[in-house]
């Protein structure tokens, strides 16, 4: 390992460490209470305390998001790898489940949180 390598590794490691609080701030501070579900043609905010089953029309098909017992998970989705379904439940602020093939993302925020911008 050369001295140049050490600098590169240090830069990447520092970036990883520094981006942590930045991401925490972007996800907001405070109690988690809102589920933000974004799809190609919709954006919905649901209270985390609710009991809802939402079917989102994604790019490839339908994605079913269930909010229950203060947790959210994707029950089924029309996508090839199903990793969004296998991910299980999320329950705390800043956590996300993403179904990239469908363009659907589920995110837990709080209060006045919302994505800063939605690009179509």
């Amino acid at each position: 390992m050369t001295s140049g390598d050490r600098i590169v590794i240090a830069i990447v490691a520092v970036a990883a460490i520094v981006s942590w609080p930045v991401v925490r701030m972007a996800a907001g501070a405070g109690p988690a209470d809102t589920v933000v579900i974004t799809g190609p043609s919709l954006i919905r905010r649901l209270p985390l305390d609710s009991s809802e089953r939402l079917v989102v029309n994604g790019v490839k098909g339908a994605v079913t998001v269930v909010v229950r017992n203060r947790s959210v998970h994707i029950v089924e989705a029309d996508c090839p790898d199903q990793s969004c379904v296998h991910q299980g439940r999320i329950g705390s602020r800043g956590q996300t489940i993403v179904c990239a093939p469908n363009g659907v993302s589920v995110w837990i925020g709080g209060g006045e949180d919302a994505p800063d911008a939605v690009v179509r």
């Binding site: 390992m1 974004t38 090839p80 990239a100 995110w107 994505p115």
Partner: protein, 178 residues
């Protein structure tokens, strides 16, 4: 046809093909393993090993060919041709090649450094494309963990590349066109 020139071309083709095969196999292995981050289609970056080897032994152009071709082959083999997974993989491969190519021009950075930087850009580019695809910032929130994983993976790949280069007679294939 000039005999010397076609001899060099044959070696370039053979070496490129071999490295593309290595990259494609590693890429297929990656896609069969559980994703490291909760974003579908994200990859750890094992296939970067082939690109780092290509960069060390064959030069920047060969490394570019290897990285783009292995994305294509893996996309065809996994049936994700033209899909979001392939877009993310292309973005990751291009960003990581560009970074590694630039770093390789600096003599004080070894393949280990290229590999760590390449892995970091690979992950960031994939997260960026995932963000664009979903239209939100949420995949980007995975950047801290992604970068941490990239550092570890980049180090492993970098050391593996160095080990391979010291044990295999790849020096015999070093191209003058580097």
């Amino acid at each position: 046809m000039h005999p010397t020139r076609s001899y060099a071309d044959a070696r370039t083709i053979a070496l490129t093909a071999m490295l593309v095969a290595v990259g494609a196999i590693l890429g297929l292995l990656e896609s069969a393993v559980v994703p490291p981050l909760p974003v579908p289609g994200i990859r750890i970056g094992l296939a970067n090993l082939a690109v780092v080897l290509a960069l060390t032994v064959g030069g920047r152009v060969m490394a570019l060919r290897v990285s783009l071709l292995r994305v294509l082959i893996v996309a065809v083999a996994t049936g994700a041709l033209g899909g979001p997974g392939m877009l993310m993989a292309l973005a990751g491969a291009s960003a990581s090649w560009a970074t590694m190519a630039v770093l390789s021009m600096n003599t004080s950075i070894s393949p280990i450094g290229w590999s760590v930087a390449g892995a970091a850009m690979h992950i960031l580019a994939q997260l960026a494309v995932a963000s664009l695809l979903t239209g939100t910032m949420t995949p980007l929130f995975l950047a801290p963990i992604g970068l941490a994983l990239a550092t570890i993976c980049g180090l492993c790949i970098g050391y593996s590349a160095r080990l391979l280069i010291s044990r295999l007679p790849l020096e015999q294939m070093v191209m003058d066109s580097r």
